[in-house]
Symmetry: C2
Subunit: 656 residues, 2 copies
């Protein structure tokens, strides 16, 4: 029984060993077995093969098919009720997809028709392969802008539109290839390194930049900077004040107002979600009629013009695999691929959480990747699961990925029969649709939440925002990832250490700063190390431990207590250690002994114990000064102290 207060025992008569728990040396594990375990945890944390266990071969085949094509899982149990719901949701998102598709294609410096193409083929692929029931597939504003601006650095989209288009297909192909490979090789955790805070800042920044870009269409400007940062855009806007067209601007602000009011209304009254979902299409129709009847296209209001009728032409042969363009396409593809993936997976996960079902990140990556690869062969550019469209899908009551099929069919019909209707659609309406969608992405509430809970996360968020707005989308992304990773490294490089004290009337020892009622034990300094001990923090910890001892000795000198005899290191939170860490412990031990004190370790975990056992540390301490709990260690120290008041005489003493 370890449940005794050590004060109950007269020190000299106490047989410490009876109640003290030793630290076990973990059973040795063959190298290959532990390696296999780490590999599994790293790449298969979700254990996807679990359901395949103990199944006949035919069942395994079906399960495998269902794994890659979830449609085989849900289609057999598809009901008429589901169809009704999916039909409504599909039509709703199609009415949003058509104007958004056209708008975003313009954002990427691509022909508007590509936006429609991209809402036809990819949703079909996703409906078969995707595991989310709520994700609505389509192009995204940030991805479009990023792709457009990165490719424009290499090829001028106005001077060489054909090459630019082909590069866009190629970049989409590589984006898809990356996404699918990440999923196949189970490297999905790379996406996790984009922290939530970084994404909030990055998305907000990108939305701001996209809004600013719309000033071109809203003010009816002919020439505009290709750069996306706020300084260039503002210079471009204010050096051309004489070119501003008031007709266009008035129209633009009216539509933005209209869109925002309906969105606000729908937010207040969730059952009227369809009002805000339909508004973009209504705006397009309204705008087109207005231009048609007033002939505003001759008065400074730019219109879309002719859209080619017909379905997606094949584009497999358009892919560019020659340098120097291919390098640009690969670079662009990798960056936009990761960004699109992060958005798609985050959106999928959020809605899965609302509806309590599970989404497999790696499977999603394969689905999104495949839809982009196939898309790049059929004149589509980068698609993923945009938040706005998926939210509408969810609100419209979609039940399965079949709503994507419905949307796809609606877009197909538009492509086949309705494209001429968009001739008179004013660009300014498209700009208004983008602005109103983007304003929703500037999530200042999330930023405030970050500030409240974690200042560092807020710093990451605001840096990403500033990086995007004042630099470029890539700079913002690099800053966000770099700061996030730096934080992890700093956490490991500067682990917290703190002094533990005994909580009155218990055997519990806790941080004395957190629990001010915890009492220090006289003559013993108890330290807790709060992180793994690695090369990156080994020398810091050595210095910090030495400083703790200095400070404790100063304190003791001031209060006139007994001298410091023992330094206890609580290793409960030390999850792992490397060879530098082992050396650090050996050095710390020497340092403590030089001060005529004894170093005591408490509760090293299995990894730590295994390595200590192999090193010379274990031999040095003769296995005696390692205990399972702080309480045991304190009792052993007190016992040793009382039986041998002059500790230097008791060197090599064993508490047998």
């Amino acid at each position: 029984m370890g449940n005794v207060d050590y004060d109950d025992y007269p020190c000299s008569g106490m047989n410490v060993d009876e109640s003290v728990h030793g630290v076990a040396i973990p059973p040795p594990q063959p190298f290959l077995k532990s390696m296999k375990y780490s590999m599994k945890e790293t790449f298969f944390p979700d254990d996807p093969l679990r359901r395949f266990k103990n199944q006949p071969a035919s069942k395994k085949l079906v399960l495998g098919l269902q794994y890659f094509f979830p449609i085989f899982e849900w289609a057999p149990s598809y009901t008429f009720q589901f169809l009704k719901s999916d039909l409504i949701a599909g039509i709703t998102i199609a009415s949003l997809a058509i104007p958004q598709g056209i708008s975003y294609a313009k954002l990427a410096n691509l022909p508007p028709i590509l936006g429609l193409y991209s809402s036809f083929i990819p949703p079909l692929i996703y409906a078969m392969m995707g595991s989310s029931r709520d994700l609505a597939v389509g192009t995204v504003a940030v991805g479009s802008l990023l792709m457009g601006s990165m490719l424009a650095n290499e090829v001028n989209p106005t001077q060489n539109p054909k090459l630019f288009l082909h590069l866009a297909f190629t970049a989409t192909f590589f984006a898809g290839l990356l996404q699918a490979s990440l999923g196949l090789f189970r490297l999905g955790f790379i996406v996790d390194f984009l922290s939530h805070a970084a994404i909030v800042g990055f998305m907000g920044g990108a939305a701001t930049v996209v809004c600013l870009q719309q000033l071109k269409s809203i003010l009816g400007l002919e020439h505009f900077t290709h750069a996306a940062d706020i300084v260039s855009v503002m210079r471009s806007v204010f050096t051309q004040t004489h070119q501003w067209r008031w007709e266009s601007a008035v129209l633009g602000f009216c539509f933005i107002f209209f869109l925002l009011v309906t969105r606000y209304f729908s937010k207040k009254q969730p059952k009227f979600f369809w009002v805000s979902a339909m508004t973009p299409l209504a705006s397009v129709i309204l705008g087109s009629l207005l231009v048609y009847f007033t002939h505003a296209e001759h008065h400074g209001v730019q219109v879309i013009g002719e859209l080619k009728k017909g379905l997606n032409p094949p584009s497999l042969t358009d892919l560019v695999f020659v340098s120097p363009y291919m390098t640009t396409a690969i670079k662009t593809g990798l960056i936009v691929g990761i960004i699109a993936l992060a958005e798609g997976i985050a959106v999928g996960r959020s809605f899965a959480m609302y509806k309590n079902y599970h989404i497999d990140g790696n499977k999603e990556m394969i689905a999104i990747g495949t839809m982009n690869i196939v898309g790049s062969f059929t004149s589509c550019y980068l698609t993923t699961g945009p938040f706005s469209r998926s939210a509408v899908n969810y609100n419209a009551g979609c039940k399965t990925a079949a709503s994507n099929i419905v949307m796809s069919i609606a877009v197909m019909l538009t492509l086949l029969f309705l494209t001429p209707l968009f001739y008179y659609t004013p660009l300014v309406v498209l700009a208004a649709i983008i602005v109103s969608a983007m304003l929703g992405l500037i999530d200042y509430e999330a930023a405030i939440h970050l500030w409240k809970i974690d200042k560092f996360d807020f710093f990451v968020c605001i840096s990403a925002y500033m990086g995007v707005v004042f630099g470029s989308v890539e700079i913002g992304l690099v800053i966000a990832v770099a700061i996030s990773v730096l934080r992890i490294l700093l956490f490991v490089a500067r682990p917290r250490t703190f002094v533990l004290g005994n909580i009155p009337n218990s055997v519990i020892y806790r941080n004395i700063e957190h629990y001010p009622n915890a009492n220090r034990i006289s003559g013993i300094l108890i330290l807790k190390i709060d992180a793994p001990i690695y090369f990156a923090n080994a020398s810091y910890l050595r210095e910090r431990i030495s400083r703790w001892i200095d400070e404790e000795e100063d304190r003791i000198k001031d209060t006139g207590e007994t001298i410091l005899n023992y330094v206890i290191l609580d290793m409960s939170a030390v999850g792992n250690i490397d060879t530098s860490g082992i050396s650090m412990l050996e050095e710390a031990k020497k340092m403590v002994e030089r001060r005529e004190q004894q170093l005591v370790l408490v509760n090293p975990g299995s990894e730590v114990m295994k390595k200590l056992n192999k090193s010379s540390f274990q031999k040095d301490v003769e296995g005696n000064w390692i205990y399972l709990t702080v309480e045991d260690a304190v009792r052993a120290c007190n016992f040793a102290c009382k039986t041998n008041p002059k500790r230097d005489e008791s060197e090599g003493w064993n508490n047998v």
Copy 2:
């Protein structure tokens, strides 16, 4: 008293609260105060201002002067005894410094005389500013090779030797600037990111490469590749077999044998350390005499030739600050600066540990940086504290940095009067000196030690070695740092979680794999998370926790125990958490509740508790399901379970 077995209490009659310890919400800290604390821990972990506290202004001035110029600390108490020891040590290291200096300068494609210049001025600076008593300053093989090969990528040293020389000064200047700034801005911890394992592999690889390079001199080849990798060197050697000079080769291998034998002898008999220290100079004298009398310089044995008499000429005006060369110089300077710093600091720390005194990393950086900046103005190139020379210094019994002054004076006398004596020194002797020094750097024993204790560290080491040998020194360095950092990131991205069980007859709960005698508690799953919860691992942990519950439920089904009612998360080792981590906990709670179970947290640290308190998590659980120890949590669960056997009815229940 928390020291009671819960079985002693009849569940229904027990007032849980009496013996259960609540988790305190840490006292609120003003943002600025906690920010100041983190900053201090990050940049001033050694608390350098501690000694300045409560001192009069004049004393503060003296202390400040002593801080930057430790010579003011030790010089006043310098004794004649010290002088005697330092004199012997200084002369010994000078006898090593002269041939090594000449050899390493050739390794850097620089005029041999620079090696002597670099052993004159920098040691004087270090003697004033350095805090190590054992470091002997001079040029280093790896740094010389790295600098020579990086600069040779930009400027051909044989075609344009003058520009090459000026670039070397410029690179040295930037290296010094970087080193001094790292020290001044207290960023010394950057050096810690070069792990011991990485340095062992990197140094071994560099030593191998340097040895291979010596085949040029040993075989007497005129033309040789500038690349340093093993493939290029071997190709260069074996395509010129008809150019091999046997005279040179025989001489070379004789001297290598001589040097190795004396070193082996000195190692066995430490008091004859001076034998191996003097051998290089003896070899130079022997070799020169041999050539002088046999006129071997006409028979394929290359000699140094003329060395300019006189002290270092100023080189301040030689520094190159024009592009494109400046970029190369900066890049080279940064990389060799970091490498040199890592070696100098590691060497200084090791000897300080032997002699039990303290070295301040940041102060050392300022000293090493200043000596390189001043060096670049006085025709010196990159210097640091090489291991071999410092070891000889230590063995020769040096007492203070004054031994550097003695060496400096000896080198000065050589420069003034003895340079003509080196005319006939054969290059092959210098090559032999380098080879014998480098063979000592290939630390295969350390590699075996790494393999035994930590396989991953061994992997880092061997990757760095391979990178240097088959790629280049830079590639090896990048690989080593990248893998080391990746390991930290992987540790955070894939933290260990394990099931805790109760150790019989105690209130202790430990990992059931580490302690096979620990018992699971029926109906309760106790998990411990072994790392901070960050964005990088939040989704992994969510999935892993869900899998643990699945596995536990499967196990329960097999054994027919009671159903799983509680999931306890032991947060003792969770040192920190960010907003993604808080969201993860919220999601995990929802997930657990969906399974009609209750999530219980145990012992969240102060950082975690602070953030939980600000988030909605705390409100959700109503502050009830957080306990200070696992034991408390288990008792509370058992109590709740027995009083309310159907747990779903007890929702919102408070254990007041």
